[in-house]
């Protein structure tokens, strides 16, 4: 799906630009966006390092396991595929809690940690598992108690009651979250979890980054993709 959306966005941009003569703007946007993307990623490196370290301490101290035990009823409902004692549950709970409190700096690293834990349970490392999708969808729904950023904008613009939007936002975001998770649960059976064996014979931009550490590696992997390093090969980054 990303293949089509990704290509579609750029193709539409080019077609529109042909009619408006906006080619210069497209070039500038591509250069600027690429730069922004790297800046965002590198900006994440610091807080990522900090929170992954703290998270490991929380794990060793038994805090993550404790949190998972407390929230077992909810996690069993949302993520029936994940064993209730698995560290993924603790990481997901911590990430969602951080999101709700508006602690975005902590929420993203914890969410990535949760994804890494879910990946250990995933039979096909290139395809999202059901709990991964449910968790991602819960994150895009962005449930939070105080939308601090936008309250700040309203206050700066001279609003009489900038906090009037707190209850409306909470209702809207909860509706969105329930709808998103319900849709994910309903749709998951129509999207098979293991498709990579078929897909890998047809290499393209998003699927051909090399074989993942799956048990059933196809023998006739195309040489192009075999030469490329895998995405999850940490050595690629260097010491």
């Amino acid at each position: 799906m990303l293949n089509y959306i990704w290509f579609g966005l750029m193709a539409i941009a080019l077609i529109v630009a042909i009619f408006t003569g906006n080619a210069g703007a497209l070039t500038k946007a591509s250069v600027d966006s690429a730069k922004t993307a790297v800046e965002i990623s590198l900006g994440l490196a610091g807080i990522m390092t900090l929170w992954l370290g703290i998270m490991r301490v929380a794990e060793q101290a038994g805090l993550v396991a404790m949190l998972s035990r407390i929230l077992r009823p909810i996690s069993r409902l949302l993520f029936p595929e994940v064993p209730p004692d698995h560290p993924a549950i603790g990481a997901m709970v911590m990430s969602v809690s951080a999101n709700m409190l508006g602690l975005n700096n902590a929420a993203t690293p914890l969410g990535i940690k949760a994804m890494e834990e879910l990946q250990t349970l995933n039979p096909d490392k290139e395809t999202a598992s059901n709990p991964m999708v449910t968790f991602m969808v819960l994150n895009t729904a962005g449930v939070q108690f105080i939308p601090t950023t936008i309250i700040g904008v309203l206050a700066a613009a001279g609003a009489q009651a900038p906090t009037a939007i707190i209850p409306t936002t909470l209702v809207a975001t909860l509706c969105g979250a329930v709808a998103a998770v319900t849709t994910a649960k309903l749709l998951q059976r129509f999207f098979p979890e293991r498709r990579s064996d078929v897909e890998r014979r047809r290499p393209d931009g998003w699927t051909a980054a090399g074989p993942a550490a799956t048990v059933d590696q196809p023998i006739g992997d195309p040489p192009v993709s075999a030469q490329r390093p895998t995405q999850d090969d940490a050595n690629e980054v260097g010491p």
């Binding site: 799906m1 990303l2 750029m10 539409i12 941009a13 529109v16 408006t20 906006n22 497209l26 500038k28 946007a29 591509s30 966006s33 993307a37 790297v38 965002i40 990623s41 994440l44 490196a45 390092t49 929170w51 370290g53 998270m55 490991r56 301490v57 805090l63 951080a98 700096n105 990535i112 890494e116 879910l118 395809t127 999202a128 991964m132 991602m136 969808v137 994150n139 895009t140 729904a141 962005g142 105080i146 936008i150 904008v153 309203l154 613009a157 707190i166 409306t168 936002t169 809207a172 975001t173 509706c175 969105g176 709808a179 998103a180 849709t183 994910a184 749709l187 998003w206 995405q231 940490a234």
Partner: protein, 178 residues
């Protein structure tokens, strides 16, 4: 009252967690600094791993926005939107919210300045902005970090959530502020 408590929590949570978690670790006999370093080692690698995914997504979205395709889409759908309670002025924001965090924040700020900070439209826009996260950013970061390329039903499900959140934002604002 509840708001004050929540604000205090979001102010104090990080420093308290940064001290509190190692404290519990120490009490339980964990070599906190050693364990911290061991976990923290992975951080830089994860950030680097996200780069290709984020560059891909952000460049496509950046080109789409720069081309003016968004305005065409808005104009095309305007007659359809005018039949619903959803104000057509907010339609570009609803679309942009899923694509770009900074872009939708700029657009919301623009709406608030243009229509007045206490107007119905501004409150709807603010509610809409606050009610969801940027879908494609979250997608690129979370799946990029673990190298997942086939996202299955993630995008359609998240889009349904965003759509419901946008409609709910308009409806709840009409109900509360009229």
């Amino acid at each position: 009252m509840i708001r004050e408590i929540l604000q205090a929590v979001s102010l104090w949570a990080i420093p308290v967690l940064l001290v509190g978690i190692p404290l519990v670790g120490l009490v339980r006999g964990v070599k906190v600094y050693d364990v911290f370093i061991e976990g923290a080692k992975e951080g830089f690698g994860v950030a680097i791993r996200i780069i290709p995914f984020l560059v891909g997504i952000l460049v496509a979205i950046g080109m789409f926005r720069a081309s003016g395709a968004m305005d065409l889409l808005t104009n095309a759908l305007r007659p359809l939107m005018s039949r619903t309670i959803f104000p057509p002025e907010l339609f570009p924001l609803a679309v942009l919210r899923t694509l770009s965090g900074s872009g939708s924040l700029a657009l919301t700020t623009d709406i608030i300045k243009r229509y007045g900070a206490d107007s119905m439209l501004s409150r709807m826009a603010a509610t809409l902005y606050g009610s969801s996260e940027t879908l494609f950013y979250v997608l690129a970061v979370y799946f990029g970090a673990i190298g997942v390329k086939k996202t299955r039903h993630a995008i359609p499900s998240a889009l349904v959530g965003d759509l419901v959140a946008a409609i709910a934002a308009a409806a709840v604002c009409i109900w509360m502020f009229k």
